[in-house]
Symmetry: C2
Amino acid sequence: MKKAILVLAVSATLAASLAVADDAALRDKAKSAGLLPIPPGVPEVANNPITREKVDLGRMLFFDPRLSASGVISCNTCHNLGMGGDDNLPTSVGHGWQQGPRNSPTVLNAVFNAAQFWDGRADDLKEQAKGPVQAGVEMANLPENVVVTLKSMPEYVDRFGRAFPNEPDPVTFDNMAKAIEAFEVTLVTPGSPFDDWIEGNDAAMTDAQKQGLDLYIERGCSACHAGINFGGQDYFPFGLIKRPGADILPPEDKGRFEVTGTASDEYVFRAAPLRNIALTAPYFHSGQIWDLTQAVAVMGTAQLGTEINEQEAELIVEFLHALTGEQPRIEYPILPVETAETPRPDLSTLPLKGYGD
Amino acid sequence: MKKAILVLAVSATLAASLAVADDAALRDKAKSAGLLPIPPGVPEVANNPITREKVDLGRMLFFDPRLSASGVISCNTCHNLGMGGDDNLPTSVGHGWQQGPRNSPTVLNAVFNAAQFWDGRADDLKEQAKGPVQAGVEMANLPENVVVTLKSMPEYVDRFGRAFPNEPDPVTFDNMAKAIEAFEVTLVTPGSPFDDWIEGNDAAMTDAQKQGLDLYIERGCSACHAGINFGGQDYFPFGLIKRPGADILPPEDKGRFEVTGTASDEYVFRAAPLRNIALTAPYFHSGQIWDLTQAVAVMGTAQLGTEINEQEAELIVEFLHALTGEQPRIEYPILPVETAETPRPDLSTLPLKGYGD
């Protein structure tokens, strides 16, 4: 009986140390693969010091449909902060019920991307924020009309003045974008099971998630989807090994080629960031795949040239679920009141003005 | 010198007592006219006990665009809680960019209305909530599809279970409407200058607002726009004295006649509730008047048969601004995650399904 207890105790100790050793080794492996936790604090961005005034103003602008020509569409329409920071549509619906060409990327943790948009055509969030406001298929507005709209509301004038002190003319399209960037910088999702685990809490991920992480690295996913944001850092041809079907990779969308004009950039896209990926179906720039396991399998075939079998894909998906962090808790803003000078909503769809991208 | 001081002191006392007497008299007059403050606490509604679980669920549903067929339109799209509880459009934009027939009424304080919609066709908020979800020009969904959508998300199933305990099948279209009603019941705006003033704080309204209130009663506005919500209590022909032009009163919209079929209900509408009216331009069921002073003048001519001159209209508008209360501070809800069983968004506009009203 004593012997049996001793054996059990030794076994338990061995199992425990084995588990610890496994976690420690896997943690080293993950770090070596460049998989990083979300750093504490509010990230810094270039040329835009983050202040409380700017973040509060940006929160208003983010939710204000009057940035659109119609007065119907806000940033939050396509980057819904209650739905993982995107709209859960294949491609977004914009002005006049037009459907845009690409799947809406999440705004959550977007500050950690090296560049913005699927083709990286905006260097940062303040540059990005100007795009959809002007795009004819999105908010269809003109910068000068946005400025007239904002200047027509005394509360906005006051808030821009406080967010951009010492500027003679603070209500500008550029400052609108800077305020939105300041708000978006706060939209990070720490505290995911992966973050807790990589910081040393072995119990934060399940065994299946740990196996999935190991496979994620072994199969090569982390070659493109690494960094704080598990992607968003660099550009790769979609179909590096084998081009997927036209449903997933529509031939008319040549990706980064449209930005650079360089032949080698045909069908090149920014590696999608994978944080909160379990919240943001459907997947890929075309938004045609709703099932995450299927998306992982497509990646195996198209990018890695390896058949990831169903069991492996499911384990990787288990791990991807460990990338869902604490969603931002936002107070819905009370927006400034319109005045007689506020431009009227323009619902007309012909001719579309401000065709952007 | 002493005499001068004495005279001044007496004058000040007289002025003060005069002001108090004026306020007290005006307060009595306002109460006699049926103008009431927002009562403290959460209002009760019939057949729907308000619980924290139900309110929280209702908040999610109110902001969830997946109640619409497209996955694009939520209750908050047309009843924006950051914009006075409406959309600041002449008439709302719905499924397929269709424009609805009538101006979106505010959801704020709607619990105090005797019935819902411009024609009062819904007895209460839970009945009202079912309308836009099914209306082809609004959310264009079908009740059975809504239930499938809600049942596809485990978090909703769990929350319906807790909001409607002891029900064998809590996820129903009716319970969706009850939860939305429970949330909407909390959307009241106490603490307006009028409310503070009627409760005894003379300083809460300006002199101009008090003059405006007096005119509001004297000219007869309070005959239709009274009660807690300054309207929303009864039905009146628009153009009681003189029918306004077809731009303001489109001949094809016969109002309550479409509900009752009674000839005397032609062009009859529910008197608009006037709380927070300064936040909810444009005005009238047609949404064609953007200027509140002009709206007051139209009312004078159409309903009262009296020319309210511009100075009087401006004073009445000053008073109407005193009806802007504390706007509800709402945490933007994190919505349940979709699953493989969640119906896909249906963006198609032909054939429209679920044509309601």
